[in-house]
């Protein structure tokens, strides 16, 4: 069944198809439509789940954690300040190895108050131990929502799927909605390996002294490492059933490329257009889309970018005092390449707080990288700002 729906409702539909059992949320723009739709789905019986609108995002995640420990499938959604308020609980879900799934609508962080898109909210949660998946269009949003539950429950880690404010959250696109029966086969009811069970009593969240703690973290790290392969398997199965795959990373027209853009989120679609246009003019450019940010697909990115003369990373985010965060991660990932095959890397900071990223913005990044490549110059700085008012 095809429907024309906004990205927020693509999430709601995905959650309904995944048969989440407890949904706990707090309103925040631009996420609110997700849980409003879900509250209706719960109220009118389309989704047999328990829904509660709690009193804060911190409580929303805490309730998901409580429900998840009881062995049920849980979901919440948030954005920006709400995600930041959850921070303590994000660590708790991941450290507790609980497969909570959450949608984060990428929205800039205050102050300056701003409801428009950038990635600083989700990226500032980088080290909480959540798997992070960035989506490019509403179909990918729906597919990723359902897949996230399967992935989370396979590795016992929480998954955050991420979509851009307004460009996806409030933009309508045709979305193919799979049949419930097919999704049920793909994603059966959750079978928790460990849960609160009166017949098999266990204590969760207990004190872990120095002689225990480190191994818990090692197990968590190993699960993260597995998550990449598991994601491939989940996608492969989804692809077989429904005919769509996205990849943890997606190289696009990178063959023989001299400059490769690295993108995430909706900027990718604009970048594809720019790449096609430049290719038509004979310029050797391509792009690599990063969907999975955690675990970081280091080896794959190394393979995809080794030997490319110049890489231009488009970051809709900033780690103040350093540079764009994807650029930073890539510099570290590419460091181990032998120098002759290690690309020059330009890190562009663009589109913060929802400033438009147009084909011209991306074109300017490409032109600057091209000029630097031609002149054999190293990047002037690690943060190159494009689209800033004089």
């Amino acid at each position: 069944m095809k429907k024309v729906i906004v990205g927020n409702h693509a999430v709601s539909w995905g959650v309904q198809l995944a048969r989440a059992e407890v949904i706990s949320a707090y309103p925040i723009t631009p996420q609110t439509q997700i849980v409003e739709e879900l509250s209706e789905m719960c109220a009118d019986g389309r989704l047999p789940a328990r829904f509660i609108k709690v009193e804060s995002e911190h409580s929303a995640m805490a309730a998901c954690i409580g429900a998840s420990v009881a062995g049920v499938r849980t979901f919440t959604a948030t954005s920006s300040q709400g995600l930041l308020l959850m921070h303590e609980m994000l660590h708790y879900a991941a450290g507790g190895r609980l497969p909570v799934v959450m949608a984060d609508i990428n929205r800039a962080v205050a102050p300056g108050w701003n409801i428009w898109t950038d990635q600083n909210d989700s990226l500032s949660q980088r080290d909480t131990g959540w798997i992070q998946l960035y989506c490019e269009n509403n179909q990918e949003v729906l597919d990723t929502t359902v897949q996230s539950f399967k992935l989370a429950e396979a590795v016992d880690l929480p998954v955050m799927l991420v979509l851009d404010a307004f460009y996806l959250s409030h933009t309508s696109e045709p979305v193919d909605i799979p049949d419930q029966a097919d999704v049920d086969t793909f994603l059966p009811k959750r079978e928790a390996r460990l849960k609160l069970d009166v017949n098999d009593p266990r204590a969760f969240g207990a004190l872990s002294p120095p002689d225990m703690y480190m191994e818990l973290r090692l197990r968590q790290q190993e699960a993260m490492e597995q998550a990449l392969e598991v994601f491939d398997a989940v996608e492969a199965e989804w692809g077989e059933r429904f005919g769509r795959r996205y990849g943890a990373i997606e190289p696009y027209r990178t063959e023989d490329a001299e400059i490769v853009l690295v993108t995430s989120g909706t900027v990718t679609s604009t970048a594809r257009y720019v790449v096609d246009e430049r290719r038509a003019r004979g310029e050797k450019v391509g792009l690599v889309k990063i969907k999975m940010f955690r675990p970081f697909p280091t080896a794959r990115l190394r393979r995809a970018l080794a030997g490319i003369p110049r890489v231009a990373v488009l970051d809709r985010n900033l780690s103040p005092g350093r540079s764009g965060i994807f650029a930073e991660e890539l510099r570290a990932a590419l460091y181990d390449l032998e120098p002759a095959r290690r690309p020059g890397l330009d890190g562009y900071v663009i589109g913060l707080g929802g400033r438009d990223v147009t084909p011209d913005t991306i074109g300017e990044c490409l032109d600057r990288s091209r000029a630097a490549l031609a002149a054999g110059r190293a990047p002037e700085r690690e943060d190159l700002w494009v689209g800033v008012k004089p």
């Binding site: 309103p27 723009t29 609110t32 409003e36 509250s39 209706e40 829904f51 009193e55 804060s56 102050p111």
Partner: protein, 298 residues
Amino acid sequence: MSTRTDDTTAREHPIAPFIRMERMPHIWCPTCGIGTVVKCYATALADSGVDLDKACVVSGIGCTGRVAGYMRLDGFHSTHGRAIPFATGLKLGRPELLVTVFSGDGDLVGIGGNHFIHAARRNMDLLVVLVNNFIYGMTGGQNAPTTPLTAHSSTMPFGNFERPFSLPHLAASCGASYVARWTCLQVRQLTWAFAEAIGRKGFRFIEVIAPCSTLYARLNKLGSGLDLMRFYHDNVEIRNGADTREVDIGYQEKIVCGKFRDEERPTYLELMHEHYRKTLGDRYVPMPPEGGLIRGED
């Protein structure tokens, strides 16, 4: 002689000096009640003779959260639910200021509920103005901790079954020294209440019932904001001194308004001052105008 005047010169609105006109137009919907509350507060402030350089407004998030940004006073638009702790810090840093918290029900007693009860318990010297429209307005009409039983909201599409707070009772039972409730129809009483509360100290709580025509009224088919004002006109029962256990608001039932409590109690800073003076004696060095420093053993 005709009394008709042809003077069509635009005159300044009486509260224009209190408003950041460069930020107009505001985001509030037609017939929203918040503007009226701001007008009453500004009028009271003007009449009170308070030095405006010593008056500041702290807001949280939501429709009422915009007040701090719109008023031409030192203002702080804080994060969601945290207006009271921000204001607490402000008061401790500058005890001579008149610190007013202006925010909505979802902000102050939903996500910020913990701060509300503790500031009241401590009798922190804050004037807290809570505009209650029974719903989360800015984010699209979700159920609030004040939504009356059976009222519809976007997250309670078949009516609310969660018991709401009765805010005057919550404030009074936590220890607030001044507690009143008015609707934004009673502009005189509301203005007087503001003026009175400005002159008091301690945790002063004024709940103002205000129409949200865009969401609360629409989701409940209650007509326009004007219809809600008519409802207030017909259903407000003024009972000054009422027992706050008896002022719950039911869905489309009578709204008890009035001043429910006005008791002078020592504020947090007064208690601190008093306590350290008693226990530390000369080692305690009062810092004007209230509060103090502890002198080291020298």
